[in-house]
Symmetry: C3
């Protein structure tokens, strides 16, 4: 019972935090029929600033890391990010009644990383005196971006496939029927190219490149970082208004999201734990590092994910992905930290 109360208390705590409070605020505005709106040009700019910040921060942490040490854990982190999305694609996104795009967007957020959950994990390790590598902060972009891009590409493939299956229409009149297998080739590369050219992903990547190759630290600290939480609160208000209007779509599948939100963090954490153990045997990755890789995998993005999904997959329902990840995934991930520590103690310590 304690664990249930624990989850409940953490959920309540989470609800009072700015991120979720503004999301609920936006839902209230929509429910009372408010005419408040964030004009579209401003909204686009807010998303751009948020993603530039996420990219810059990730790039700076990669630049400051030792690339030789980073290589193996970084590849494993990316593999875990992709694996989490594939797992979600085979479970949540196949659930009867769950929209495939919504399911993939949710899996993408669960594959992405919550910087604050990661920080909580580091604080617990520090308290317990468990050491970990200094470059851990540079691992999260690999898992984060791998998961987000995989989810977006799979969702776009699914949309294209459905369009092709439903006739493909006007383009094939009198010609050969569209070949679904074609999706593996030209279409996939088209979708990949579209994804990298999309405003959301290209803002993320250019921020990453500037963070790695230039020295934007001063402007990052004086501008992007201080504005970040505030602009995120605005984005949450906007997403809350939209989420309210699309909440009814979820009525029949709420149990699917509830089950996924409660169980997926544990499965993902186990995946991350296994990858960390592998790195431990391959390169001597530390006990603390294994715990933190599990925490990263268990966590779901409350920062990079929502603006990326909203920018790159406007058709996905934010009630589904933000609600499940911020409302359930994050509290469960925070509560699971001691579990990974105990497992690491058994397996390594």
């Amino acid at each position: 019972m304690d664990i249930v109360f624990g989850i409940f208390a953490t959920v309540l705590d989470q609800v009072q935090k700015p991120t979720l409070a503004f999301l609920i605020g936006g839902m209230l505005l929509a429910a009372m029929g408010s005419k408040l709106e964030v004009p579209d040009p401003v909204y686009k700019f807010v998303v751009m600033l948020l993603l530039l910040k996420v990219g810059l921060g990730a790039g700076i942490s990669v630049r400051e890391a030792n690339l030789a040490e980073l290589a193996v854990p970084a590849v494993l982190a990316a593999v875990v990010g992709v694996g989490i999305v594939l797992l979600g694609a085979g479970t949540l996104a196949r659930w009867r009644g769950v929209s495939r795009v919504d399911g993939l967007a949710t899996a993408g957020l669960f594959g992405a990383v919550s910087a604050s959950t990661l920080a909580a994990g580091m604080a617990v390790l520090d308290d317990e005196g468990v050491a970990y590598e200094g470059f851990i902060g540079a691992l999260y972009p690999f898992m984060d971006i791998a998961a987000l891009v995989t989810a977006i590409v799979l969702a776009k493939v699914s949309v294209a496939r459905r369009a092709a299956a439903s006739g493909g229409g006007t383009l094939t009149l009198g010609g050969a029927p569209p070949r679904v297998e074609g999706l593996g080739g030209g279409l996939l590369s088209g979708i990949l190219s579209d994804t990298f050219k999309s405003p959301a992903i290209s803002a993320l990547l250019i921020g990453l490149a500037i963070g790695i190759f230039a020295e934007p630290d001063s402007v990052y600290k004086s501008f992007y970082e201080p504005l970040f939480r505030g602009l995120l609160s605005i984005l949450m208000l906007i997403m809350g208004m939209e989420a309210w209007s699309r909440l009814s779509e979820l009525r029949k599948v709420a149990h699917a999201y509830l089950a996924y939100g409660l169980l997926a963090p544990l499965a993902h954490g186990a995946l991350g734990f296994g990858a960390g153990l592998l790195a431990h045997h391959l390169t001597g990755f530390s006990e603390g590092g294994v715990v933190l890789l599990a925490v990263m995998a268990a966590s779901s993005s409350d920062i990079s994910g929502p603006p990326t999904m909203r920018g790159a997959l406007p058709e996905a329902n934010p009630s589904a992905y933000v609600g499940t990840s911020t409302g359930l995934g994050t509290p469960v991930a925070i509560l699971s930290i001691p579990l990974w520590m105990a497992l690491a103690g058994l397996a390594i310590g």
Copy 2:
């Protein structure tokens, strides 16, 4: 004579402060025919951020207050706010030649509260060693929002009444004449509902709700508060440009605004003083509290008022309401602080 010089010096001082300096800057831009403009989507976002900040700040101060102690003075503060607007509706807004909407918008700003004048009052009491309740800061939203909403609703009723009186036009062709008494019922509730749904008031209220029920303190301090003065300077520039183009409308009624700007703060302060005295006898409200309730009532809004009015009553002339409140009302209110202290000393001390 001293008081005249005092007013003059305070007016000069006020003119150099950013708020009025940017307003005058905007008027200069309009006078020289500048093509500078703030694009509409950005302007709407600036107003939204300003009102979210005002609401959040008010909500946080209400959350931190003891609601039991707050109840009686809060109700009295709201009554004073409404009373000030009704007084203005019966005097300035009925003046021959004064536009009713402009008069009500001005009365709304005089009913709303200037946080900086309130802070000046607190500083004087601290210097004199006069004690006051810690929850005073949580009283101002009650007076502020009550006054602004009353003014907006009365102005919208007046516009609707005038429209109805001038025929009501196409809707009643061949039907019964529109019944003005109907304004008391369905129309009033329609206007109230419109007011709460308007972008300005709903931004204010959602900020208030988030401030009371969640814990947005970190994002408030790192984002909303630092941006506030700067975004206000932008708003003042915009309002100055508009004020210049509408200044000529006021030429024939300048004496009305001059008289109101000089005398109303004293009348309103007396109203607030009376309410404070009542609270003193009902609940033991302190001497310092009585002084500060008078100062709040005497002050006129330089912060929450202009963006709210501009958002909710775009037809009102900012030359009238911002000019009168910031140019005359605020200096007179600041200079009247010693008067309320002397009166409180006589009545209570």
Copy 3:
């Protein structure tokens, strides 16, 4: 050879700084076909904030200076600013194949002042224990604004002249042919008036006026200054995207910009040095002051210039003026500081 390596190292260093890194980032985005864009209303607002900040900062430093001491050096600084642009109009802007508007915009940026190069000069003098006047910071707006306005007016005159020469078209049907001599009179005053009314210059001037006559220091420090570097990084991203698409225009005249970028700072520094020497003999202007006037003249604007040119001369190619000034002019100017110190030691010390 040392000097060549020195220039190369400074160029590399410059490339990693946020200003140029975001410019190159924007070019990369354009090269990879990214769909990222800054919506036009937001872009206009960003430019407005940047120019208000530049104006406010300049105004505050003028207000804090002693106007009597400032008079002679200020007039000389303005003369140097105009002189640099006239020099550029007679050389770079007449080069075969160089667009006259691009050449004038580049000369305008080389006439304008880089605050960071000026600060570097002050730091070097402080290290060497060479004294200079406290009001030096108040000189730069005179050179800056004189150069920018001269360049914009000359460019607009040239556009109007070309339009007149190519027929003048529909307006003169059946009338007298347009008189090109008319450019000296009504047309010039029209262009001057247009320039002062343009959003860019009027934002700069109203900021200057508010900085001089009011006390916007608090809002300047809490809002305009902290946002500045960040908004500039956004502007650079936008200009980089545009620069990429217009880079090919410069292929045939790259040598002209290369020669101008390497040699002009030295010629301009000599001009500033001469003006400083004149002030030394007229009013006892200090040795350090003479050095700093030369540094100001040698430097080219990386702050006030790009947004002003982009706002007032949208037809000019940012690849030309930002590339030449930030990529070549600024490093050469920084490297030339010891030269002016040595010359001043010979001429005065």
